[in-house]
């Protein structure tokens, strides 16, 4: 307190002196001398700077390949810091200021052009031959989109161009990165992923928003290009959807500041994936019939009634995940993951030409576990590398079943057994897993085996009629299996050629072989692969 007063007093005194002073002739002469001296100093300074500049130019004019000696640089090789930073910034809540370093000193050397996003195109083509036309595994045809309209990852027989995938990515500004991935087929363009991620949030947190592959499990967020087999595991396709869990939403994740890699995250998603969050919404069921009328003239009738499905706005699906990876040195890496999710809505409907409408309306949940182990001794081009991965997902659909029939042009009336309230509650319980191993048996070559199992638990409800003519009865189905083997030749990291043979053994007694060939090439800036 005392010092503040002294300071204030000093300030007042100095101000007083400045005003009171009258300049004398002696003062002015001294001032002129001082000015002349300063002028001379400035001239010297200018001369020195000019000499330095000339020397610098000479250095720059030497060709880049010259045997230039670093010598003892007199000037700092880098600009001085714009802000005085003291010590390493260890406070996670106070990260580096978001401001970029001045242009030209950012310090990265790339061949990419300055402001254009990184561009890559991935082309994937297949040839497939199936010994038999097999259906989906029993119990899993339900809620799984058929027809694979547009851009599906289902393999079809014959020659196929599965996709041309165009990826653009880059930094929006110091705060966000963006990535857009569009799958182009000959009839349409579909956004496979389009999202932004934060790059400046403190304390190891990151937010992702847009349309993206969920981080649940391990293989869910991989693209065709990353798969080790021609097709995806049944688990990804049948438990979540043709494209896995790919949703519009927001993800927040946190990487813990520990020695051991631990990442936690949750996602708030719109909820449209057929396997876990199928959504139909409200609306009317319509049927148009043309039947003989009273005088045998064809008569056109329109049947219309409310579907009785609730309409719930998104977000409807909520998921969480945890990943943990201890440091096992340079040769081994392992990652364990657990995930789960809840969808407020799971709906489905099937209309029959007989005028009957079946609806399912309820919610769903899933839990999963995943494991990846990678071994690499650093052999030439993948030689000796081994990857083992396994995942399991368990799913429950808790739905109310209604089977209704048009009783007149605008009324749907319940039919058996769903006219009995006890028969309307259906709790579906299903699961799926896969286990695969891939080994680099020679430089640029690898081979792998995969086992797919679905329906180890397979409590479903039949939409056909039973012996007593009742519908929607519980039917406990068994497991279906698929065994696949592949051989891949990757001439470089940008191209791969693959052959695969699968044997499918369905629960319904059908079995068959599938033979597939694939080429997958990437052009342009090829993004680094996540673990």
């Amino acid at each position: 307190m005392k010092s503040v007063m002294l300071l204030a007093l000093g300030g007042v005194l100095m101000a007083g002196i400045a005003v009171a002073d009258e300049p004398t002739l002696g003062d002015l002469l001294r001032k002129i001398e001082a000015l002349e001296e300063r002028d001379q100093q400035r001239q010297e300074q200018i001369d020195r700077l000019e000499r330095e500049l000339a020397a610098e130019r000479e250095t720059e004019e030497r060709p880049a390949e010259s045997e230039e000696r670093p010598g003892e640089p007199t000037e700092q090789p880098e600009r001085p810091p714009a802000t005085a930073t003291t010590g390493p910034q260890t406070d996670p809540l106070d990260p580096t200021p978001a401001r970029m370093r001045a242009a030209g000193s950012t310090g990265e050397v790339t061949s990419g052009t300055a402001f254009n996003p990184a561009i890559s195109v991935i082309l994937d083509g297949t040839y497939a031959h199936f010994s038999d036309d097999l259906d989906d595994p029993p119990g899993f045809d339900f809620g799984h989109g058929h027809g694979h309209g547009g851009h599906g990852h289902g393999i079809e027989e014959g020659l196929n161009l599965r996709e041309a995938e165009l990826t653009l990515s880059g930094s929006v500004d110091p705060y966000f990165d963006m990535m857009v991935m569009a799958a182009i087929s000959d009839s349409n363009i579909e956004l496979e992923e389009a999202f932004i991620t934060t790059r400046a949030l403190p304390a190891g947190t990151q937010i992702k928003a847009g349309k993206f592959f969920s981080d649940v499990g391990y293989i869910n967020k991989q693209h065709i290009h990353d798969w080790q087999f021609v097709d995806q595991p049944w688990m990804r396709e049948l438990m979540f959807g043709d494209e896995g869990l790919n949703e519009v939403g927001v993800q927040a994740s946190w990487l813990l500041p520990t020695d051991t890699y631990t990442r936690l995250g949750f996602e708030v998603l719109e909820g449209t994936s057929s396997g876990i969050a199928n959504f139909e919404g409200d609306g009317r069921h319509e049927l148009v019939t043309v039947l003989p009328g009273d005088d045998n003239e064809p008569q056109r009738n329109r049947w219309r009634a409310d579907k009785n499905l609730t309409d719930t706005n998104g977000p409807r699906l909520f998921t969480g995940f945890a990943k943990w990876a201890p440091d096992l040195g340079f040769d081994h890496a392992i990652q364990l993951g657990a995930s789960g999710g809840y969808s407020r809505v799971w709906q489905n409907e099937t209309g029959h030409s007989s005028g009957r409408l079946e609806t399912w309306d309820g919610d769903s949940r899933f839990v999963g576990a995943d494991l990846v182990y990678k071994y690499g001794r650093g052999g030439l081009m993948g030689h000796g590398n081994f990857v083992l991965q396994a995942e399991y997902v368990y799913r429950e659909l808790d739905v109310e079943y209604q089977s209704r029939q048009f009783s007149d042009f605008s009324t749907l009336a319940l039919t058996g057994p769903s006219d009995d309230p006890d028969q309307r509650d259906q709790r579906w319980k299903q699961d799926a897993f896969y286990l695969q191993g891939v080994y680099g048996f020679a430089p640029r070559w690898n081979a792998g085996l995969r086992m797919d199992g679905v329906g180890l638990t397979n409590r479903t409800f039949d939409d056909g009629t039973d012996d007593l003519g009742r519908r929607g009865m519980r039917g406990d189905l068994g497991a279906s299996w698929r065994y696949s083997s592949q051989v891949t030749f990757a001439p470089t990291e940008f191209s791969r050629l693959r052959g695969q043979v699968s044997y499918i053994d369905l629960d319904d007694g059908h079995d068959g072989w599938q033979f597939m060939l694939q080429y997958n090439m990437s052009l342009g800036v090829h993004g680094a692969h996540a673990f």
Binding site: P77, P81, T96, M100, A325, Q335, G376, L380, G527, A528
Partner: protein, 292 residues
Amino acid sequence: MKKFLAGLILTLISIQAVAEVRVVATVPNMGMLARAVGGDAVSVTVLAPPDRDAHYLEARPSMMSALRRADIVVAVGAELEVGWLPAALQGAHNPRVQPGRSGYFEGAAHTSLIQVGGAADRAQGDVHPAGNPHYYFDPERMAEIGYALASRLGELDSDNADQYRANAEEFAQQAEDQVAEWKSRVDDPPGVVFYHKDADYLAKLLDADILGYLEPLPGIPPTASHLRELVGSLRGTDGVILYTDFQSSSGADFLARELGWSAHQLPNQIAIDGSVDDYFSMIERWVEAIVR
């Protein structure tokens, strides 16, 4: 109150003094440089072991957790680590070390590279239009980068800025002496054949002619036809074949047998915690193999 404030300030100062700059280096040679320049004021973690080809690594969770806690990442740059470092940085959730920030340091940006430009066309193999990234074969270029690193570390930790600069100067002096000594030993060196365009910087330093590469194109393993072509064009000349410990020896052995040359398999990275001396002796082995 006064006592409390004084205590707080003292505590903050002591934390400041104890806190090391956490450096994550991509490869051991860069780790060596970081330790040489940083001295006791830094702690260094290295992401890739010496016996791996840094072109072909995979991003791993342990890299991400190391980068998560890093104050600065020291990379070779010029797209050597392009296959894995961006993914590791993306997964690290650490704004301090993202490209463009003070905590992201690419050595390649602070020295002159050879073989800059050229078509960005992968029909020419795994090309690096930004320049040859294997500059760690040239101690003088490493010294140049050492100065830049000292200045960057000084930005992060101004208290030790002078020490960093002094360390960088010491390393530069050692590099200069070493290179001068090697040059004095080399008189009219034989031509060299490398497996990959990696030791080109050393060949340039010693004025040795590069007669060819075992790879037909960068990143493509030696083929029989390419080796036969090499044998055809080099028969009757004198030279030496050099390749690194993660490159296959069959091509080199074939060439050595056909031409009657010697072939040497040598490391191109030092041990994870290797010292400055280890680095110079690693290069020295290459120099000796060329000089014989």
